[in-house]
């Protein structure tokens, strides 16, 4: 297995007027791996996904995709590069054109990027349909004839139709019932194994992220507060927010539920110092005055918290 880097993001930031939606986000994804961004609503994870694809222009930061600096590309170069990166959204009904048949839905991206002849495009469409376990007869039907899970399968097939190197999946199973969610998650992993696709996977559901991802970044109020390999994050979380988030997942008895007070502050008024301090059970004076830096913990795990300095000093 090579360790070629597919996507490298550094210092990515985005402000909308006074709202700092994403602040100084950095991560890399090796080819064929899945990086998960997890966080609550308002954490900036979806904006980060759109920034990576330059669907939203970043205020600052660098995005290197397949070794090329995306932020420096001209509009036409960017359009050519888009062929290699596709997106899957939470609501396939909103992201796919309901007036297109499944055939058109699967052929269109290939046509737009000038891949193959019409006959070849159709062949690819048929193959993808089989890969997402839908019958060939589905080709001539329209989206409203399918259930939510089937629509998401079609969205996945469409994303794969240009044979992309990177797929950005934003809450792809959040709208689905649990029994169907499992089908789609299995499918995504199978296809990733078969095609060697790299994935940026965004979800608020820690159980889903744990199942899907190799490496995880935990976001809070526009920043990554902790990141590292999946098992480290789940078994040895270092940041108080990651700990609280994990403890909030239901299914461990009510006594185990974390009682994190308050709610995520508005991105209009990010607290000084550490953004999490207003809800952190361990906050002390330094947290208000000084922003904690990201520091290495070992085994590729990194977190931004003053407590870690304390632990080292003690």
């Amino acid at each position: 297995m090579t360790t070629e880097t597919m996507l490298s993001v550094s210092g990515l930031s985005k402000s909308f007027k006074t709202v700092k939606a994403v602040r100084d986000v950095s991560f890399t994804i090796p080819r064929g791996k899945t990086f998960g961004l997890v966080g609550e609503s308002g954490s900036g994870k979806s904006t980060t996904a759109r920034l990576v694809l330059r669907l939203v222009e970043p205020t600052a930061g660098r995005i290197a995709f397949r070794g090329r600096d995306l932020s420096a590309l001209s509009a036409s170069d960017l359009r050519r590069e888009r062929r290699h990166m596709q997106m899957i959204f939470q609501d396939p009904f909103g992201s796919l054109n309901p007036r297109m048949s499944v055939r058109e839905t699967l052929v269109e991206p290939q046509f737009v990027h000038g891949i193959g002849t019409a006959a070849e495009q159709l062949k690819v469409a048929e193959r993808l349909l089989a890969e997402v376990s839908l019958p060939r007869a589905a080709l001539d039907r329209y989206l409203h004839e399918f259930s939510g899970g089937q629509r998401q399968r079609i969205a996945i097939a469409r994303a794969l139709s240009t044979n992309p190197d990177l797929i950005v999946a934003d809450e792809p199973v959040s709208a689905l019932d649990v029994s169907v969610q499992a089908q789609v998650l299995n499918l995504m992993r199978d296809l990733q194994d078969r095609h060697g696709t790299t994935m940026l996977f965004i979800s608020h559901d820690l159980r889903v992220v744990q199942f899907m991802c190799d490496e995880i970044g935990v976001m809070y109020l526009g920043e990554i507060v902790e990141q590292g390999p999946r098992d480290r994050i789940y078994n040895a979380p270092a940041h108080p927010y990651t700990k609280a988030l994990l403890a909030s997942v239901p299914g461990k008895g009510s006594g185990q539920r974390a009682r994190l007070s308050g709610e995520i502050p508005s991105a209009h008024a990010v607290p000084s110092g550490c953004a999490f301090r207003t809800r952190c059970p361990h906050a002390f004076e330094r947290c208000a005055s000084e922003k904690p830096a990201m520091r290495e913990i070992g085994n590729g795990q990194r977190a931004a918290c003053h407590l870690l300095d304390k632990a080292v000093a003690a």
Binding site: E40, S41, S147, G149, Q150, D177, V178, S179, V180, Q181, A182, Q183, L185, N186, R189, H204, L206, R207, V208, Q210, F211, Y234, N235, A244, L245, A247, S248, V249, P250, G251, K252, G253, S254, R257, A258, R259, L260, S261, E263, I264
Partner: protein, 339 residues
């Protein structure tokens, strides 16, 4: 003052078995009348809830759990045809007319919705919505109702209650909105609270806070609670007993610990296996094949049979809900306990 307050008894140390039954639902069925005749939505639902007990109604979208709740509240759509018996505090409320049913709402039954943003009025103040309810149901004066509304907000953990009363739903955060919804539901001292996916729209950390609050309220007020959810993990944490629904039927019913750990119905088992559980290291999930059949296209016999690995000829006839060792199951081939 005290004469104006609804009863808010302290925790009662009565053993569960001796507790009064608050709600009994017997063979509840519901169909929609449309141009083609009757479309069955819910066919045979029976369960009961005792004082201080939380019972979960679990299932995926389209299983009929929410419509069952609205049938109990008496707020089902006009074209719904409802059969079976609903008994609240010993009174058969399913026999009452719409006006009498409405009088039970608020005073005897409270309702908590999934999306407080849309379930609270956008242009009436929080205080107005609360005092309208208090004045109508408890006959309070405006000032007594305002006083009580402020106490209720305080009780559900909302700071600066007096200011919030003057505010509107769009000014509140998601968690605060659901707290207001809870305050409204318990405001007139109901004995039964129905919560329809009360935490589904919330972030996990807020979800934990709201579940804590619901549990506190249930203990303090000795409420019977019907908790509607799709999430079996929440059921295990929060509820005493659980009723699993599939395609308009109850398929399994029992203690929530049994249902979430060793269910007997293949569908209940499937729901558990389909969720990526914490640190089980699986690389593949075990989904339930196929999809929930849409209303009006239910198969004959066992409705889960087309998606079930254990189905055979026998499943073409409809199974009854039968009591097994630990739960009641509607299945010809139930799983062994602990399987």
């Amino acid at each position: 003052m005290s004469a104006h307050s609804a009863p808010m008894p302290a925790e009662i140390a009565v053993p569960p078995a001796q507790r009064r039954t608050v709600l009994e639902v017997e063979n509840l069925s519901l169909s929609f009348r449309n141009a083609d005749g009757l479309l069955p939505i819910v066919t045979d639902v029976s369960f009961s809830i005792r004082q201080g007990e939380a019972v979960a109604l679990v299932g995926e979208s389209g299983c009929g759990k929410s419509i069952t709740a609205s049938a109990i509240m008496g707020i089902a759509p006009e074209n719904a045809v409802i059969g079976g018996r609903i008994v609240l505090n010993g009174q058969e409320i399913s026999a009452l007319g719409p006006k009498e049913r409405r009088r039970l709402c608020g005073r005897h039954m409270g309702f908590i919705f999934q999306e407080p943003m849309t379930a609270l009025h956008p242009t009436l103040s929080i205080g107005r919505q609360m005092t309208d309810t208090l004045k109508h149901n408890l006959g309070l004066s405006q000032s007594a109702a305002t006083q009580r509304a402020a106490e209720l907000l305080d009780r559900v953990g909302i700071p600066r209650a007096r200011d919030i009363l003057k505010g509107y739903v769009h000014e509140l955060s998601g968690g605060m909105r659901q707290r207001v919804m809870i305050a409204l539901a318990i405001s007139c001292g109901p004995s039964l609270v129905i919560a329809d996916e009360p935490t589904t729209a919330l972030d996990v950390t807020i979800q934990a806070q709201v579940l804590d609050l619901l549990e506190d309220m249930r203990r303090e007020l000795d409420l019977a609670m019907l908790f509607i959810t799709h999430d079996l993990e929440v059921v295990g944490d929060f509820c005493d007993r659980a009723v699993v629904m599939y395609a308009g039927d109850v398929v399994e019913r029992g203690e929530s610990a049994d249902i979430t750990r060793r269910p007997s119905h293949p569908y209940a088992r499937g729901l558990i296996d389909a969720v990526p559980a914490h640190d089980d290291g699986r690389t593949r999930l075990t989904p339930i094949l196929g999809t929930v059949p849409p209303v009006g296209q239910w198969p004959e016999g066992c409705r889960f049979a087309p998606r079930c690995g254990r189905a055979d000829e026998k499943c073409r006839t409809r199974p009854h809900l039968e009591t097994l060792s630990h739960t009641d199951v509607r299945c010809w081939h139930p799983l062994e306990a602990g399987a």
